[in-house]
C-alpha cells in the first residue's frame, strides 16, 4: 500500500492517517476489567483454579467450604490485576508526557507551537538543536548551507556516533521563507519497521523550481526518537506518525522472560495434573462401582432409587475437588513474593555498591534471579565493561625518544617537560597535532574553566594531555581555532576536516596558520593507517617498535603525523573534495578516495599511548566464573589487536603455550568458509586436550559466517569456550545471543553502552553497567551493577542462593500439598470411596496458610553454604547449571517422600487410637498434626 503525502496541505491529508498520538497502553478505563480477567484466565493454571472454585459452589460435591478456594483465588487475581493496572498507568503517564510535548509546526502557512499529538501526516515540523524528533520526517531544510544535519540515533539502533542526514536535491538551497510555503507530493510505502530502508520519491508542485521526481532514501529522513545534534535547525515533512512510525512498528511489548526454573515448575505442574486426572478417573470409577454394588445395601445411607443424569459424575467430581489441593494455588504467589525478596537482597547488598558513585546494584526484573545460577555463557562488551572507559594519556614516543617509560606517566616525565621548555620543534609539532587534529569542542563554563565536549574518549584524552603540557585548546569558533601555548595565543584556520571512518582508521585536518599563512595537514590514526603513508625517507622502525611495545602493555596507540601542503596543491585538492562531498552515489567511498590523495608523504611525528584501564578485579572475576563452568565471549566494536590485548590482560585467553588463538578472517565467502573449516578442524582435535582454545572473528567475517555457514559456526560456538568478536555491530551482538540461545544455552549479556542494549534485551539475563556511556544499558537491563567485578557476587552468591531456595520452596509446596492429598486419598479407601474429606475446611486452610506457608519462609534466608565457600569453590555452581536441584528426578524424590510420609502418618493415626475406636475428628486431628510435624521436620532438615 502506497502513501501519497501532500506536503503542507491542511485539508486533504487531515483524516487519512492517524495523528501523532503515541499509545503504549494495554488497557483503557473501560476495558480494563474484562480484558485483564480475560488475560489472566488465558493462563492454564488460572482456568484450572477457576473451574475448581466453581465446582465447589455445588454443595452436593464440595468436600469443604468454597471460601477456602475462592478467598485465595480472588486475592491472587486482585494482586496481579493491581500490578497490571499500575504498570499501565505509568505507561499512560509517559505517553502523555510525550504526546503533550510542544513542537513547532507550520499550519496554514504560519509556524505555530502545537502539541506533539496534533501533528498530522504532511505537516512541516521544525526542530532546533538537541530536540527530539517527534515523528518520522523527510528532511527538507537545515541550517547548514550544504544541506547536512546530524542526528543521534542511539534510541533507535543503539549507535552513539552522530549520523549525517541530507536534504533531498530538489529542496537544496531553498531559503527559510520558502520552506513555509513549500508544496509537493511524497510517494512512499506504507508503514514498516525497517529502520535502514525508505524508498520514496518527492515531487514539488509547480510554483517551486522544477517538477522532476526526486528520489528519497533513508539518508533523507530523520526518524522518531532521534536527537538533532550540532545543527542549528532542521525541518521536515511528517510521513509516518503516532504508532505507525518506524520505531512504533518495531516496538513490541518485550516478552516476559521465563526462567528455566519456571519452565520446569510448569512442566512438573503439568505432570501432577495428569497424575491427578488419573487418580480421579480411577477412584471415580471405583467409587461408582462400589456405590452400585455395596452402597445400595447400606440402608442407612438411603441412596434414592432414582437419580438424576449427572449422578455418574458426582463421585469423580468429588474426587477432583479432593485432589485439587495437589496443585498448590499459592505457589505462584509465594514464588513471586520470594523472588522479589531475592531482588531486594540484591538491591540491599552492601558489597555490590559502587564505591565511586555510591550507587547500589539494582534488580529491575525481579523474576529471574534463579536464572543467574544457571548461566552458561556470558557475552560481554569490552569498553566500559571490562575496562573503565576512562582514557588516560600515559606514554608517547616522539621522534624515536620514549617518554613516560620510567614513571608510567608521560605527563610527569622530566625529559618531555624539558623538551617543551626548550622548544624542541618535533615535540611542539606533536603537541599541536594533539590539540588541533580532533573534533573536540571547547566550551567555557561559568567559572571560567574550559570544558571539552568530545565524541571520542581518545580525543578527549589527547586534548587533556596537551592542555597539561601547556598546549591548551582555548576556543573553536566557526573555522578559527585558538591555542594558548606558553602565554602566547596561536590561531589556526581549519580549512577542511577529513573525518574519521572505520574504514580509513584515521582523521586529518587541513589548517592554515593565521600568523604565517602556511597550510599544513595534520593526521592521526591507527598505525596501519598512518605508517604506510610516511614519506619515503623516513625510518618508521622505531614507531613500529613503539606501537608493538605499547600494545603489549594493553595501551591504545595512535600515530601522529603531519606534512606541509602547498597552496596550489590545496586549491586543486579542495575542488575535488567539494565535488566528492556533494556526490550522491557512493559518497563515502568517493570522499575516502579523495582524502587518500592528500594523505601521503606524511612526516610521522610519534606515537601516543592511551590507557583504558581494566576495572578492578576483572581478571579474578573472569577466572572464578570460568572455573564455575561459565563460558565467556567478548563482543566489541573495537579493533582486533586491542581486543586481544585486553583479553590477554584480563585472563580471558591464555598466552601461547597454554592457550591457542585461532582466527577466522577473510573478505569473501570462500575465504571465510575455508578459515572457518580450518578453525573447526583444529577445535575438534584439541577438545580432548586441556588447552584453552579461543577464536577471534571480526564483524565482516561474522556477517558472512552467520549468513552462509550458520551450521558450521553454531558447531564452533558449541565447541569453543572462549571467543572474541571484534568490530561487531549492535545487531550482530544480538544475533550472537540469539545463536547461543538457539542451542539451548542460558546466556547472560553484560554491557554499558547504547550499542549493547539490543544484546541485553535479547539475552536470558541482561546486565547493565551503570557506567560512563550513560544509563541506557542499565535502564534496558534486568540487573544494573556498578562494576564488572560484582558479576561474580551476583552469580555465585545471589544467583545460587536464589536457585537453591526456589528449588526447595517449589518442591516443598508440592510436597506438603501432596502429603495431605495422599492422606485424603487413603481415607477415601476406608470411607467407601464416597469422597469424604477427612479434614474440615478450617484445618485445610490453617494447614496451608499458618502451618506450612509461614515456617517455610525461613528457607528464603537459608544459606546452604557460606558465601566464602562458594567463592572459593566456584565449581559448586555446576550443580545449579545442570539443574540438579530441580528436575523430574528430584521431584520424583519429593513425590515419593510425600507418599511415604502420608502412608506413615495415615497408618499411625488410624492405629494409634485403637483402630476400632477411632472417631473421625480425632483421626483428622491426629493426621493433621502428623502432617504438620512431618513437614516442619522436612523444613528443618532441608534448611541448613
Amino acid at each position: 500500500m502506497k502513501r501519497y503525502i501532500y506536503i503542507n496541505d491542511d485539508e486533504t491529508s487531515q483524516d487519512l492517517y492517524c495523528a501523532n498520538r503515541l499509545s503504549n497502553r494495554k488497557y483503557t478505563l473501560m476495558n480494563f476489567l474484562p480484558k485483564n480477567l480475560w488475560e489472566q484466565f488465558s493462563r492454564f493454571m488460572n482456568q484450572y483454579f477457576l473451574l475448581i472454585a466453581c465446582l465447589q459452589l455445588w454443595s452436593l460435591i464440595t468436600p469443604v467450604n468454597p471460601a477456602s478456594t475462592w478467598g485465595p483465588l480472588i486475592f491472587i487475581f486482585a494482586v496481579s490485576a493491581t500490578k497490571e493496572a499500575w504498570d499501565d498507568y505509568n505507561r499512560y503517564l509517559s505517553d502523555k508526557k510525550a504526546n503533550e510535548k510542544e513542537v513547532w509546526v507550520v499550519k496554514q502557512g504560519i509556524k505555530k507551537l502545537i502539541q506533539s499529538q496534533d501533528i498530522r501526516v504532511g505537516n512541516i515540523v521544525w526542530l532546533r538543536e538537541n530536540d527530539e524528533v517527534p515523528c518520522d520526517l523527510v528532511l527538507i531544510g537545515t541550517s547548514d548551507p550544504q544541506g547536512v544535519c546530524y542526528v543521534e540515533t542511539a534510541a533507535l539502533d543503539g549507535e552513539t556516533d552522530l549520523k549525517t542526514r541530507l536534504i533531498p536535491a530538489a529542496c537544496m538551497g531553498m531559503d527559510f521563507e520558502l520552506l513555509h510555503k513549500i508544496k509537493g507530493v511524497i510517494e512512499c510505502p506504507g508503514p514498516d519497521k525497517d529502520i535502514r530502508r525508505f524508498d520514496g520519491n518527492l515531487r514539488l508542485l509547480p510554483p517551486f523550481i522544477d517538477n522532476d521526481v526526486c528520489p528519497l532514501t533513508i539518508k533523507n529522513t530523520i526518524l522518531q526518537s532521534c536527537y538533532l545534534r550540532n545543527t542549528e535547525w532542521a525541518c521536515g515533512v511528517a510521513v509516518y506518525t503516532g504508532n505507525e512510525t518506524k520505531l512504533g512498528m518495531t516496538r513490541g511489548i518485550p516478552e516476559p522472560k521465563l526462567t528455566a526454573v519456571d519452565a520446569m515448575i510448569d512442566k512438573l505442574t503439568g505432570a501432577i495434573f495428569v497424575f491427578q486426572i488419573v487418580v480421579v478417573i480411577v477412584l471415580g470409577t471405583a467409587g461408582n462401582v462400589w456405590k452400585d454394588t455395596e452402597a445400595r445395601k447400606q440402608w442407612y445411607v438411603l441412596y434414592p432409587q432414582e437419580f438424576p443424569w449427572y449422578e455418574l459424575l458426582v463421585i469423580p467430581l468429588r474426587f477432583e475437588l479432593l485432589c485439587s489441593i495437589m496443585i498448590p494455588i499459592s505457589i505462584k504467589v509465594s514464588l513471586d513474593l520470594v523472588k522479589s525478596l531475592y531482588a531486594k537482597f540484591i538491591d540491599w547488598d552492601y558489597e555490590m555498591i559502587d564505591p565511586e558513585t555510591d550507587t547500589p546494584s539494582h534488580a529491575t526484573n525481579t523474576a529471574i534471579s534463579e536464572d543467574l545460577a544457571q548461566v552458561e555463557y556470558i557475552l560481554t562488551d569490552k569498553t566500559g565493561t571490562l575496562t573503565e572507559n576512562r582514557m588516560i594519556f600515559r606514554r608517547c614516543c616522539i621522534g624515536g625518544i620514549f617518554y613516560g617509560n620510567e614513571t608510567g606517566d608521560a605527563l610527569k616525565d622530566v625529559g618531555l617537560l624539558n623538551a617543551i621548555t626548550s622548544g624542541s620543534p618535533d615535540v611542539i609539532r606533536f603537541l599541536t597535532v594533539m590539540a588541533v587534529c580532533n573534533t573536540v569542542i571547547p566550551a567555557k563554563s561559568k567559572a571560567g574553566a574550559i570544558l571539552y565536549k568530545a565524541q571520542s574518549q581518545d580525543e578527549e584524552a589527547l586534548v587533556h594531555a596537551a592542555a597539561q603540557l601547556h598546549m591548551v585548546l582555548v576556543n573553536k569558533n566557526a573555522s578559527i581555532l585558538e591555542i594558548k601555548f606558553n602565554g602566547s595565543v596561536l590561531q589556526y584556520e581549519i580549512l577542511e576536516t577529513l573525518e574519521f571512518t572505520s574504514d580509513r582508521k584515521r582523521m586529518s585536518v587541513v589548517v592554515k596558520d593565521c600568523h604565517s599563512g602556511n597550510i599544513s595537514l595534520l593526521s592521526k590514526g591507527a598505525d596501519e593507517a598512518i605508517l604506510p603513508y610516511a614519506h619515503a625517507g623516513q625510518q618508521t622502525r622505531t614507531f613500529v617498535e613503539a606501537v608493538e611495545q605499547y600494545s603489549q602493555l594493553g595501551l591504545r596507540t595512535l600515530c601522529l603525523a603531519w606534512r606541509e601542503v602547498e597552496e596550489d596543491e590545496y586549491q586543486e585538492w579542495s575542488l575535488m573534495f567539494k565535488e566528492a562531498s556533494s556526490t550522491l552515489i557512493d559518497r563515502e567511498w568517493r570522499i575516502a578516495e579523495v582524502c587518500q590523495r592528500l594523505e601521503h608523504d606524511l612526516k610521522v611525528l610519534g606515537v601516543t599511548a592511551i590507557e583504558d584501564r581494566l576495572q578492578d578485579g576483572v581478571p579474578e572475576t573472569i577466572e572464578t566464573l570460568r572455573k564455575a563452568g561459565i563460558n565467556f565471549w567478548m563482543l566489541t566494536g573495537d579493533k582486533q589487536n586491542t581486543a586481544i590485548q585486553i583479553a590477554l590482560s584480563c585472563n580471558f585467553i591464555s598466552p601461547e603455550p597454554k592457550g591457542q588463538l585461532l582466527s577466522i578472517d577473510g573478505k569473501t565467502e570462500d575465504e571465510v568458509c575455508r578459515s572457518l573449516e580450518r578453525v573447526l578442524l583444529t577445535m575438534r582435535i584439541t577438545t580432548s586436550e586441556p588447552k584453552d582454545v579461543a577464536f577471534v572473528v571480526d564483524g565482516w567475517a561474522l556477517e558472512i559466517a552467520l549468513k552462509h555457514y550458520r551450521k558450521a559456526f553454531t558447531e564452533l560456538a558449541i565447541l569453543s569456550r572462549t571467543a572474541i568478536c571484534c568490530r561487531v555491530t549492535p545487531s550482530q551482538k544480538a544475533q550472537l545471543v540469539e545463536l547461543l540461545k538457539s542451542c539451548d544455552y542460558r546466556t547472560l549479556a553484560i554491557g554499558d553502552g547504547g550499542n549493547d542494549v539490543r544484546m541485553i534485551q535479547k539475552a536470558d539475563i541482561g546486565v547493565g553497567i551503570s557506567g560512563r556511556e550513560g544509563l541506557q544499558a542499565a535502564r534496558a537491563a534486568d540487573y544494573s551493577i556498578g562494576k564488572f567485578r560484582f558479576l561474580k557476587r551476583l552469580i555465585l552468591v545471589h544467583g545460587r542462593y536464589s536457585y537453591n531456595r526456589t528449588a526447595f520452596l517449589s518442591q516443598y509446596s508440592f510436597y506438603k500439598s501432596l502429603l495431605i492429598c495422599f492422606i485424603q486419598i487413603f481415607f477415601s479407601f476406608i470411607s467407601g470411596l464416597s469422597g469424604t474429606s477427612l479434614f474440615n475446611s478450617v484445618s485445610l486452610m490453617a494447614y496451608n496458610v499458618f502451618y506450612t506457608s509461614i515456617p517455610v519462609l525461613v528457607s528464603t534466608i537459608d544459606k546452604d553454604l557460606s558465601e566464602g565457600t562458594v567463592m572459593q569453590h566456584p565449581q559448586i555452581l555446576f550443580y545449579c547449571q545442570a539443574g540438579r536441584l530441580l528436575n523430574p528426578s528430584t521431584f520424583a524424590g519429593w513425590f515419593g517422600r510425600s507418599l511415604f510420609h502420608a502412608i506413615v502418618a495415615f497408618v499411625i493415626s488410624i492405629h494409634v487410637y485403637a483402630y476400632e475406636k477411632s472417631e473421625m475428628e480425632e483421626v483428622s486431628m491426629v493426621a493433621l498434626s502428623g502432617c504438620i510435624w512431618l513437614q516442619a521436620f522436612v523444613v528443618a532438615l532441608e534448611t541448613k
Partner: protein
C-alpha cells in the same frame, strides 16, 4: 540519550593527570544496613560428623525401646472379651433370610453367655462393635445439622439433613439427618449368677459434647415418625444433652469397623464368672452383612488394648540401634577424613560435570 553520551570534563592545567572521579554523592541511595538485608543473620550449622550421627541414633534408640516395652506391657494387661452375636441371635429357621427376619415384628430377644477369662478390674466398659458400617460415608457423615442440635431456636434448621429433614407434611425432624435416624438400637442386660449387673449409662459421652454441642432445651420431635423407620426411637421428654446414646452415636467413626461405648459396669468381674446377657437384636446389619459384637474391656493407664503403639516404638528404636551399629562398623572399618575435597564431584571425575 542526550549529551551525556559525549563526556565532558574540565581542563584545568593544575589538576592531576586523570580526570577527577565524580564527587561522591553520599545520598540516601545507599540502603540502610541491617543484618537481615545483608543476609548476615546468625545461623547454626551443625555438621553431621559420624560421631554425632551415631550418638543421635543411640539416644533415640535408648529412649524408644523402654517406652515401647512399657506400652506393650500396659496393652497386654488389658482384658478384653469379644462376643460376636449377629448370626447366633437369629433363630436357625430364619437364617436363610436374615433381613426379612430383622424387619419383621417377631420377638428378637436373645440370650448369650460370656465367660470371664481373667480378673477384670472395674470399671468394665461395655462396647458394641459394628463391622462394614460406613459411618464415614460422604452422604452419611454430612447428614446432620449442628445448629439444630445446639439451640432450640434453630429447630427448623434442617439444611444438609435430606432426605431425613422434614416429615412428609413439612414439620422439621429433631434431630434431623441420617446419622440420628439410624441410631443403634440393640440393648443389653447383664446378670451374674442370676443377679443383675447394673450398666451405668451416664457419662459415656464426651462432656464437651453434652455441654456444648447438644442443647439442654432441645427435645426430640417428629423423630422416627415417617414411613421409613431407621433405628432407635428417642424419648421426647428428655433433652438431647441427656440422650447419651445418641451423642455417642453421632460422634461418627473414622473407620467402617468401629466400637462405641454402651455403658460401664461398676464392679470387678472375677475369673471364670459366667455372665448372662439378654439382648434385643433389633439393629439391621444383615442387609450389608455386617458383624455385630459385644465387647467387655478394662483399661490401663494407656487406654484400651492397643499393641500398635508399643510395637511401633520398638521397631523405630530397634532400627535406630541397628543404624547406630552399622554406622559404627563403617566408621571403624573404613573411616573417611572429614571435608576431604577429593570426594567433591568435580575432583572425582575432572572434565565431566
Amino acid at each position: 540519550m542526550n549529551s551525556n553520551a559525549a563526556s565532558s570534563s574540565t581542563a584545568n592545567p593544575d589538576a592531576a593527570g586523570s580526570p577527577d572521579p565524580p564527587a561522591p554523592r553520599r545520598s540516601s541511595k545507599r540502603p540502610k544496613y541491617s543484618k537481615f538485608t545483608q543476609q548476615e543473620l546468625p545461623a547454626c550449622k551443625p555438621i553431621l560428623t559420624p560421631k554425632w550421627v551415631i550418638l543421635t541414633f543411640l539416644v533415640v534408640g535408648i529412649a524408644f525401646v523402654p517406652i515401647g516395652i512399657t506400652s506393650l506391657l500396659a496393652s497386654r494387661d488389658v482384658v478384653e472379651i469379644v462376643d460376636r452375636y449377629e448370626t447366633d441371635c437369629i433363630p436357625v429357621a430364619n437364617r436363610t433370610d436374615k433381613v426379612a427376619f430383622i424387619q419383621s415384628n417377631a420377638s428378637k430377644t436373645c440370650t448369650r453367655q460370656i465367660t470371664v477369662t481373667k480378673h477384670m478390674k472395674r470399671p468394665v466398659y461395655v462396647y458394641y462393635q459394628l463391622d462394614n458400617f460406613y459411618q464415614n460415608h460422604r452422604r452419611y457423615v454430612k447428614s446432620r445439622n449442628d445448629e439444630q442440635l445446639k439451640k432450640r431456636s434453630k429447630t427448623s434448621e434442617t439444611s444438609q439433613c435430606e432426605p431425613e429433614d422434614t416429615t412428609p407434611d413439612g414439620k422439621p425432624i429433631v434431630p434431623c439427618g441420617l446419622i440420628a435416624w439410624s441410631l443403634f438400637n440393640d440393648t443389653y442386660t447383664f446378670s451374674r449368677n442370676k443377679r443383675q449387673l447394673t450398666v451405668n449409662k451416664n457419662g459415656i459421652a464426651w462432656k464437651s459434647d453434652r455441654d456444648h454441642k447438644f442443647g439442654k432445651e432441645v427435645f426430640p420431635s417428629n423423630f422416627q415418625n415417617g414411613t421409613l423407620i431407621g433405628g432407635a426411637h428417642l424419648d421426647e421428654s428428655i433433652p438431647l444433652s441427656k440422650q447419651e446414646d445418641l451423642i455417642v452415636w453421632m460422634r461418627t467413626a473414622a473407620l467402617p469397623t468401629f466400637r462405641k461405648l454402651y455403658g460401664k459396669i461398676e464392679v470387678d468381674l472375677e475369673e471364670n464368672d459366667i455372665i448372662d446377657v439378654i439382648l434385643e437384636n433389633n439393629y439391621n446389619t444383615y442387609s450389608f452383612s455386617g458383624k455385630k459384637k459385644l465387647v467387655l474391656s478394662t483399661t490401663s493407664w494407656l487406654g484400651g488394648k492397643n499393641d500398635f503403639l508399643g510395637i511401633a516404638y520398638l521397631t523405630v528404636g530397634g532400627l535406630c540401634f541397628f543404624l547406630a551399629l552399622s554406622f559404627t562398623i563403617v566408621y571403624l572399618v573404613k573411616p573417611r577424613r572429614l571435608g576431604d575435597p577429593s570426594y567433591l564431584s568435580w575432583n572425582r571425575n575432572p572434565g565431566g560435570h
